[in-house]
Every structure is written in C-alpha cells, then in structure tokens.
C-alpha cells in the first residue's frame, strides 16, 4: 500500500494536456483537445480514424509540437521539442506503424534511445538487461535478441517496439494500437505486462480500435471526434460499448459485420473458385489444403507465425511454391509472380498497405489504376474505359470524387484502405485475397469494408480473408480454415465456433506440444486413444488426439467438431463423470484442464478398449497434472 500512498501524495495527474490546437496545412487536426492522465491508471484514447488521437499522442510524446496549448508533467509545465526530451522526462510512445531500424539487431533496436546517451556502450550489460526484460514480458525464447530485425514477423516487430518503450523506464507510456498485429494470446501477455506497469504507478495511454480490449483493460476513457473531446476521462465502468461507438462516430452502428440472417453460410455451395491441395512453400507453409467456393468468404485464421500470410502470398505469386496442386476456377494455377496471379484473375490486398499496397507518390486515381497496368498488355494506359466505373465505385465506397487527383498521402488510413479495396474491385477478379484488411482501421470504416466484402461475395467472387482478429474472422467469414504451424487444422462453419475455441484450434505445436506430450504419454502407458476436447452443449471440438494401434473408434479425430450424438462415446461426453464410464465403443474418462488464470480449457480424455483393465482415475489425473500441460496451456488458450 506504500506505493499507492506515494502516488496519492504526488500531483493528481501524471500528465495533463489542456486546450491543444494543431493544424496540418489545410486540415485542423486538433481543436482544443485535452487529456488528463492519473498515475497508476490505463487510460483509453478512442476515436475514429482522423479523430486526432494519434496527433495528440504524438504531441504529448514530443514527436510533434502543438500550435498552442498547455502540457504539464507531474504538475510541472512541459513542452517537449523533441522525442529525446520527452524520453528523458519519462514520456515514451509505442508507435503504431513500427518505427524500427530493419538492419539493426533486436537488442540494438530495444536500446536504440540509449545510443544518444554519453559514455561507451556495454554490450554485455545491455544483453543481460534485455534478457531480464524478455523474462518479465514472458518473451524469453520467442524473440531472438541477436537476429536482424528485418527477418522478424510483424507481431515480433511490434513486440520489439513495446520492449523498446519499456526499456526507457518511462513514467508515462502511450501504446498506439499495440495489439494490431497480435493474436489473442499475445494480447493477454501484453495486458499482463500493462497491469504490472500500472502496479508500479505508471500511467498508460491505450489507443485501440478493438472495443473488447478497451473494456477489458482500461480504467477511464477519453473519446475524440474530429479533433475535439466528446467524452473526457469517463470511467470505463460507466460506459457501454454501444455508447462508445455512438460517441466515436456520432451515430448508431448496428451490426458491423453486416451479415443478415440470409447471407451467412447460404452461398457456400457454389462451384469452387480456388482449390488448394497440399500446398507447401517453405519455411512457413508446410501442408495446406482448402477450397473457396464462388460467393463464399473463407476466413484463414491462426496465430501470428502460423503461416497464414505466407500461404496467401504464395497463392499470389509472391513466394515460391514448392509443391502442391492448385486450381483456379477448375484450371491448373501456379503463379510465379503477381503478374501471373493478376492475369489469372486473383486480387490481393496485402497486410502492410503502406509498403506493399500503395505507391506513395501517386495520386488516388493512379493508385486505383495500378493493378490495371499489370493486367493490360500494350502501351497505353487505357483508363478512359475505367473512368465511368471509378466514379460509380467511389460512390459505393462513400468517397468523394474530388479526392481523385489528391496525393494518396493526404488520406487517412481507413480511406487508403478503401482505395486499395476499390482498385481490386475495378479488376473484378474471380478470387480476392484480403490480408488483415482492417488492421489500424476504425470501426466506422470497418463496417463499410465488411459490407463491401460481403457484397462482392454476393456477386459471386470468392473471398479469402486472412485476419489475426478472431472476432473479425468469425464475424465476416462463412467458413473458417484454422492454420497452425504451416498446416490446416480444421475447416469449420463460422456459426459453430467462437473466439476461445478458435484459439485452441490455432494453438501452435510449440505451445500445445506439452498437451500433445501428455496425450502420447497416456497412450504409451495405457493404450487406447487420448484426446484434448472441448464440449459445449451438444457439440464437441477436438483439438488434438493420439491413437494407439489397438485404439477403439471414438467417432472423432483431431480437427473435427461433431455433435455428441454422432460420436461413439455420447454418454461420457454428456455426463463427464470423474470415473471411467463404459460404452459399447470403450471405457472413457474425461479430466478437466484449466489454464493458469483459471480458464476452462476443456478436457483431456482417454478411451480404452471395452474389455481391458482400467487404471485408477486418480493415476490418470496425476499424469495429466504432472505433465507440463497446465503450464503450456497458459499460452495456448489464454483468450
């Protein structure tokens, strides 16, 4: 309690910004914005794209200077003229678009701010501090300190960005959409660290578009709209999600995923557009098979590193395909370069739109016609024929035709994403691949994007959606293919799955390995079949299973999700007693599995042949407890 006492005896606000004004050329980004941040709180900064939350974050962290306004740090006036001043004063920001040096190592990037301090570098010292930092964040072994940054995945890079901020020992840390590239487990870990920081009396600002995260982690909320504060430091408990959305966009938004009762799953019976059979593209994609039907939205879900992006990149000719059979609309398809893919009728919206999606120096019109250039043979641009459609399209996207000749850089992130989307719609492809289409996009724009995706599917286009946002995948897709460690685990209608079970299907071998080991151990000792399942109502989800040669047929296997009555052991699944229960197929025992924070992680089951000897349930339970299962499950099923 001493920590609280010292906090309370200090000034009321860790950081207070009052009446901040800022204009960029023609646009007024902030008109009298404010932010009051208490020590030991997590404060959400919410607003649609372009509302000014990033601008304010950049001003209080010294990256920008305000036109006018007042900023106080722990009661003393503070006007930082550079990021370095702010870092020295204890204010640091975790950037949205990662601002790291790709040619330096992870270690160097984490401690980059220290390179400007006087004195010599002590590499051993840095390395041991970094190791301690990784431990604290539970990242040991996940982040190779000596690796060069450019070789890391997007989420690993974001993690480096966060560690970099933690390493400066700041009192005020601004997290600008830190979770955009994170899977649910990684979000959980980040939240653990944020809670730890708050206990140390630090003040955290959390900028996010994901409402469920805001309601989970933050204490108070400040909402921005068009550069003004519309809700100032309101307690999170006093706000409902619907209120928040209304405050952000200024109107009601009903169902952001835009699927009516009619839309969902209804069109998945069309002819297949894309058939992927045992696709391999090392190192990340090992063995993936799935089908996308005409008019179907197929979600490709999985954790970061599962190979989702790499898989669709291979399908677009960006990565070498080593083996596998792919058919596009029935014809054999093997793209060597994106040009092949575009000519065959495949559209692709990449994850990193700034780097892969847009030509920064071009106007909106030129960016719209970019893919068109690739498909067209001959010298001319041929954009006359496209003019009519462009006008129509902009109307559909609720974009003004006046922006056509503006530089793409003047548009907000959400509008840029609309332009990229519009580009591919112009091409009317057979298959449209979307990799993280709403990353860093606000909720208002997101619903427009979802509605467009749905409309495209209704017109008969096959849509392949990759997203690390499990809720989005479930909300938008008709069917979901879960990938883990470069292979498909299951293919399931989105109506039959929720975020928790998706996370368990997606658990990578590395973290589910311990559970798998326990299953193997059980089978080695007792024979039969051991499995990890989750039972919900009348349905069973099987995440993993290990079978011995004499195994009884239980009626389900890894990746399947049958109704209980369709399995061979319905009674035990329904009753789940703490003892072996005999049925015609065999005698089964289910032992509940819990994560380190008490999450229900389903059951470990063991089914033995009907006539054999049965072990004591307590023995089985002890083996499950003794195995590293519980420890490992904390990372596998933390959502």
């Amino acid at each position: 309690m001493t920590a609280t006492a010292t906090v309370e005896s200090g000034p009321e606000f860790a950081l207070e910004a009052r009446d901040i004004w800022k204009a960029f050329e023609r646009t007024q980004a902030l008109s009298g914005a404010a932010l009051a941040l208490r020590p030991g709180e997590i404060h959400a900064l919410v607003g649609a794209n372009g509302a000014g939350k990033s601008t304010l974050s950049r001003i209080v962290s010294g990256h920008l200077s305000a036109d006018r306004g007042e900023i106080q740090l722990f009661g003393a006036p503070a006007g930082f003229t550079s990021a370095r001043d702010a870092i020295r004063a204890g204010v640091t920001m975790v950037m949205q678009e990662t601002s790291l040096a790709p040619d330096l190592s992870v270690l160097e990037n984490i401690y980059l701010p220290e390179f400007s301090a006087p004195g010599r570098l002590r590499w051993k010292d840095l390395a041991s501090r970094a190791a301690a930092l990784l431990d604290q964040f539970g990242q040991r072994g996940r982040l190779p300190l000596r690796a060069v940054l450019r070789d890391l995945s997007a989420s690993q890079r974001q993690m480096v960005e966060i560690l970099k901020a933690l390493a400066t020992n700041a009192k005020v840390i601004i997290f600008d959409e830190p979770t955009a590239s994170f899977s649910p487990n990684e979000v959980d870990r980040l939240f653990d660290v944020m809670r730890l920081l708050v206990q140390q009396g630090k003040a955290l600002v959390f900028v996010s578009h994901r409402l469920e995260e805001i309601f989970e982690i933050t204490d108070r909320i400040t909402v921005f709209r068009e550069g003004r504060v519309v809700a100032n430091a309101t307690s999170t408990t006093e706000m409902r999600p619907a209120d928040l959305v209304r405050l952000m966009v200024g109107r009601e938004i009903a169902d952001i995923y835009a699927h009516g009762a009619a839309g969902r799953g209804a069109r998945s019976s069309g002819a297949p557009v894309l058939e992927v059979d045992h696709l391999a593209s090392p190192p990340r994609v090992r063995d993936v098979s799935f089908k996308v039907a005409e008019g179907e939205i197929l979600g490709l879900a999985g954790l970061v590193g599962a190979g989702r992006s790499e898989c669709v990149e291979a399908l677009f000719g960006l990565r070498r395909i080593e083996s596998g059979d792919i058919r596009l609309a029935g014809a054999s398809y093997r793209p060597r370069a994106p040009t092949d893919a575009v000519r065959a009728g495949v559209g692709f919206i990449p994850e990193d739109r700034r780097r892969q999606g847009l030509v920064q120096d071009f106007t909106v019109r030129e960016n719209l016609l970019l893919a068109h250039l690739g498909r067209r043979r001959g010298l001319g641009l041929g954009d006359d024929e496209q003019r009519v459609r462009i006008t129509q399209l902009l109307e559909d996207l609720s974009l003004s035709p006046r922006i056509l000749d503006d530089s793409i850089l003047t548009l907000s992130g959400g509008m840029q994403q609309k332009v990229v989307l519009a580009r591919w719609i112009l091409m009317s492809p057979k298959l449209l691949i979307l990799d993280e289409p709403t990353r860093g996009v606000d909720i208002g724009t997101r619903s427009t994007v979802y509605a467009m995706i749905r409309r495209l599917a209704q017109q008969g286009m096959g849509v392949l959606l990759v997203s690390s946002d499990f809720e989005e995948v479930i909300g938008v897709s008709d069917r979901i293919v879960v990938m883990s460690d470069g292979a498909d685990v299951t293919s399931i209608p989105s109506g039959l799955i929720d975020v928790e079970k998706l996370a368990m299907f997606a658990a990578p071998r590395s973290s589910a390995e311990a559970t798998h080991f326990v299953l193997e151990d059980l089978v080695r000792r007792f024979g039969g079949v051991a499995y990890w399942i989750f039972v919900e109502g009348e349905r069973l989800y099987c995440f993993d299973a290990v079978t011995a040669s004499d195994a009884p047929n239980i009626g389900f296997s890894r990746g399947s999700f049958p109704e209980i009555t369709c399995t061979k052991i319905p009674e035990v699944l329904r009753q789940r007693p703490r003892r072996f229960l005999s049925e015609p197929a065999g005698a089964s025992l289910l032992t509940p599995l819990r994560g380190h924070r008490g999450h229900d992680l389903g059951h470990i089951g063991l089914t033995l042949p009907p006539d054999g000897a049965l072990p004591y349930p307590s023995v089985v339970e002890r083996i499950i407890r003794a195995g590293p299962a519980t420890a490992a499950m904390t990372s596998a099923g933390g959502a």
Binding site: S82, A117, R120, P283, R284
Partner: protein, 336 residues
C-alpha cells in the same frame, strides 16, 4: 523445438554458425578473392612474386583509405562524389603547407582542410536538405578547381625525404602505409560494430525516422560521416604524395568511382543500413587485383575500363543472386 539440454550442448557450434551467417557476405568475398588470386597465379608466373604482392598492397592504400569514408557515407544512405577531387585539393594544400611547416603540422593542416570541406558537404546536405548527390557533385567540381588554382596548375615536387619513408619503410616486413591502412580499417570496423556512434550511423541508414524518434543525434552523425570522408581523403592525399614524391593537381581523378565500386562490391546497399568495412576492404582488393591482373596479362589499357566495368557489375550481380538464395534460409527464426 529443442529441449534445454540439447540447446546447451549445441551452443558452441550454434555460435560459430551464427558468426558464419553474420559474416557470410565477407566469406563469399574472401572466396572470390582467393579464386581471383589463384586464376591470376596460374595465368602469370609473376603474380605470386614478393614484389608484385608488395605492389598490390601499395596500390590498395589510396583507394582503401578513401573507401572507409565512402562506406560511412553510404551506410547513412548518402554518397560522396567529392572524395577524388578533395584528395587532389588537399594534396596541394599539404604540399604548400610543407614548404612552410614541419611534416606533422602539414599533415594536420591537410586533414583539417579535408574535414572542413566534408563538413560543408554534410552541413548543406543535412541542414539544407539538398540531395547528397548534388552537393558532393558541386564539391567535386570546386575541389578540382581549387587544386588547379592553389597549385597554379603545376606539380609540387621536391618533397622532404621523411615523407617518402611513409611509403618506402616497412614494419615487420610489411609496407608502413599498408600497416596504417589495416589499422585504419580495424578502427573503423570497431567503431561501426560496437560504438554508439557506429550503430547510430547504421540506424540512420536503416530507418532515419526510427533513429529520430529514438532521440538519436541524427543530424550530428549525418554530418560527421562527410567530415570523416573529407578528412580521410586528405589522409589518402598524404600517402599518395609519399608514394610518388610529387603532388599533382589532377591526382586521384576518378577515385570517387573506384571507392563507390569498392563499397558496393563489398556488399553495401546504396539505400543505407547495410554493409561493413570488412566488405569494403575486400572490395578494394578485388578492384586492385583485377587491375593488376589486366596489367600482367598485357591487356590494352583502352580495353581495361570495359573489363573493369563489366567485372564490377558482374560481381555485384553475383552477390545479389547469392544473397537472394541465402535469404530463404534467413527467414527461419533462430531460437524458435
């Protein structure tokens, strides 16, 4: 996934592997150097004689020194076209100073002049936000012109004996100037690999915004690399004067291209952030070897430019091809 004990028992080979991976570019360069030497020794019996090897070392000194500065500049995604004419101009300044001042003072005067010219380059590029190509192109013209103006377009001869010692004396059997070159490279390597300033230079070239937001002294180091480049041009001028005991205003013409070629052959990216002085060192040697080989083979001097140009482009092309293939492996996480 390996268990802890397995990882521990494999640690030392893993470290060696990592070192190899980190230095794979340099190792490939070394292989290329060895291959070139082998080919040349097979073709010409004169190649592997002591006098030719000493000659090779001697010839690598001037380009080698200036290429260090060029590496610094290119690492920040800049370019310095003025090094050749600055070597010429500071050589003249050095010669004029020698007439009045003792040798060490004259050297200092020359180096300060080079550093000052580099500072002007860096200051205008960084603070005035003018492209490095343009600024240093201007300085290239000014430098050569000043060399003519200050020398009256005449060579400066009758230099002191003590200066000649720099080129003719030996340390442990190696030419003094070559030993100095190696020392300079060792210092530059240490600085770029381990010092804050060196890593800041890489950070600037890799992502200048990241460097700025981390609060690094971006402007200071962006200027510093040009100061280093200018100062090293003057150092090269001193060694050049020592070698031929005469200073000519047209000296070191075209040196900027040789140094840029050496840096690029050495694996650096003109977009900054990638490259090492070790690579540059070998790049310099490859250039010198090729020139030497062409001379030993009595290739018509008019044709030598074509040969060198083709070989430079081919070497870089080969390197890109090899590193693209190595890149597939690089995507695997090391500790996962």
């Amino acid at each position: 996934m390996t268990t802890k004990t397995e990882a521990a028992s494999r640690r030392s080979p893993a470290t060696i592997r990592r070192l190899f991976r980190a230095a794979q570019l340099e190792l490939r360069m070394l292989a290329l150097l060895a291959l070139l030497s082998l080919a040349l020794s097979l073709i010409s019996p004169y190649f592997f004689t002591l006098s030719n090897i000493l000659n090779l070392m001697d010839q690598s000194v001037i380009t080698g020194i200036v290429a260090i500065g060029q590496t610094f500049v290119i690492l920040t995604a800049g370019i310095d076209l003025s090094v050749g004419s600055l070597t010429g101009a500071t050589g003249i300044v050095f010669g004029l100073a020698l007439a009045e001042l003792p040798l060490p003072i004259a050297i200092i005067v020359a180096v300060l002049t080079g550093g000052l010219a580099g500072f002007v380059n860096g200051f205008i590029i960084t603070k005035g936000r003018v492209a490095a190509f343009i600024v240093t192109l201007g300085m290239m013209s000014i430098g050569r012109s000043m060399a003519y103006v200050l020398s009256g377009a005449n060579s400066i001869t009758q230099l002191p004996e003590s200066l000649g010692n720099l080129a003719s004396s030996t340390i442990l059997g190696l030419p003094t100037n070559f030993v100095m070159l190696v020392i300079l490279y060792a210092m530059a390597w240490y600085y770029l690999t381990f010092a804050k300033g060196g890593r800041t230079i890489y950070a600037i070239g890799s992502n200048v915004e990241a460097a700025r937001t981390a609060g690094l002294r971006v402007d200071f180091y962006s200027i510093l690399v040009y100061v280093i480049s200018g100062a090293l041009s003057a150092v090269a001028a001193v060694f050049l004067a020592a070698r031929i005991l005469s200073i000519d205003p047209i000296a070191a013409t075209g040196l900027e291209l040789d140094t840029i070629a050496a840096v690029v052959i050495g694996g650096a990216s003109l977009f900054g952030g990638r490259g090492t002085v070790l690579g540059t060192f070998m790049g310099v040697f490859i250039m010198v070897l090729i020139r030497n080989g062409l001379n030993l083979l009595n290739v018509n001097p008019y044709w030598q430019g074509t040969a060198i140009g083709s070989i430079i482009v081919a070497a870089v092309l080969l390197e890109r091809f090899l590193s693209a293939r190595a890149g597939i492996r690089r995507l695997e996480p090391e500790d996962a």
